[in-house]
Amino acid sequence: MIVADLSDRELEHQLAGPGLLLRTGPVVSRIQSRLPAIVRGIALHYAEYPTANDESFADFRVRVGRPRNFRRWLRPQAQFFVDGNLPFAPLPLDQAFPMLEWGLNWCVSAHCHQYLIFHAAVVEKTGRALILPAPPGSGKSTLCAGLVNRGWRLLSDEMTLIDIASCSVVPLPRPVSLKNASIDVVRAFAPTAAIGPAVHDTTKGSVAHMRAPTDSVRRAMETARPGWIVLPRYQGGTDARLTALSKARGLMQMADNAFNYSAHGGRGFEILSQFVDQCRCYEFAYGDLDEAAVVFDELAATT
């Protein structure tokens, strides 16, 4: 059963009551909320995702609600609960859906230590993963959104999960978070992509989410082999250019963008080294998504 099989009323009822059991890759979350923005956001972005029945185990029990204080009348806010705890300060109510997304990311990065987790977008073609580790503002999510609208499979726009036993990349396909100018860039690049309403004045500026492609959601249990590690850098007016990077520097970039690698100690280093050994590493500057898509298609075809 997928979320789209539920009527609007059933979805609303599940979210307001026992919670919607939502499977995103290897993670099952029980989501509860009465907020209309959450109901609309889930209906738009998670329509194709599997749901589980009430008896199923949930890795995380999350709830997005409104604080019960005087602020609810003056400046309405939203709060994110996980297993009854409040890991974050409340945010303005109109940021409820981005807050759910950030909260779900946090659940994975803070708890799923069966994986090595990196702050990196990751897409797949021909069975190989293209990992894009980069700090915020480097054009990582924009490039990721561009590639998944040109035939690459979305594994994640935010977190790369490496399975410790197999050294493969485990998909966690969820909505792609677009920020500021990249919202209009992706709208123009992929006019048929489903992009939700922009939410303004968040800590990250304006944020809108792009729905993950159906094929990526359906193949969410299909892992990918190590392929390429590419450090993206958006620079307006620049021709798309790939420059080879040593494996040692590729590993350092991954380590710099790691959530839990040092927590795994020497074993984490060994797994990451094995992973990097199997990848080709590059830096990539780009100023145009069409050019970027051509470069990566050539890369996938020739290496």
Binding site: A248, S262, A263, G265
Partner: protein, 100 residues
């Protein structure tokens, strides 16, 4: 001030260091600090020789191994360069001077 080139140095024990060499570059993970360091060619060579040296090695001894003219390692500036690397290793917690 650079350390005495005759002082013996030891790398961290084997179970506290993990490393990988790709071409001239070495990446080393320090289990005690949880930090990863990228070492250039000289620093990588010094670390690997220090790890391999049972009982440790001095800057002068490592420099003599690395220099094309082992007898003139001091003159060629190798000893000073190696001593500088060892001093950096001490700062990063990768090695320490033998106090005995």
């Amino acid at each position: 001030m650079l350390p005495n080139p005759q002082v013996r140095w030891r790398a961290l024990p084997d179970d506290a260091l993990a490393w990988r060499r790709w071409g001239g570059e070495v990446v080393v993970f320090n289990e005690q600090t949880g930090s990863t360091h990228l070492l250039g060619e000289l620093a990588g060579e010094v670390l690997l020789r220090l790890v391999a040296a049972e009982g440790g090695a001095s800057a002068a001894a490592i420099a003599a191994e690395l220099s094309d003219n082992p007898g003139d390692a001091d003159e060629d500036g190798w000893t000073e360069a190696v001593a500088k690397v060892l001093s950096d290793f001490a700062r990063l917690g990768l090695a320490q001077a033998d106090k005995s």
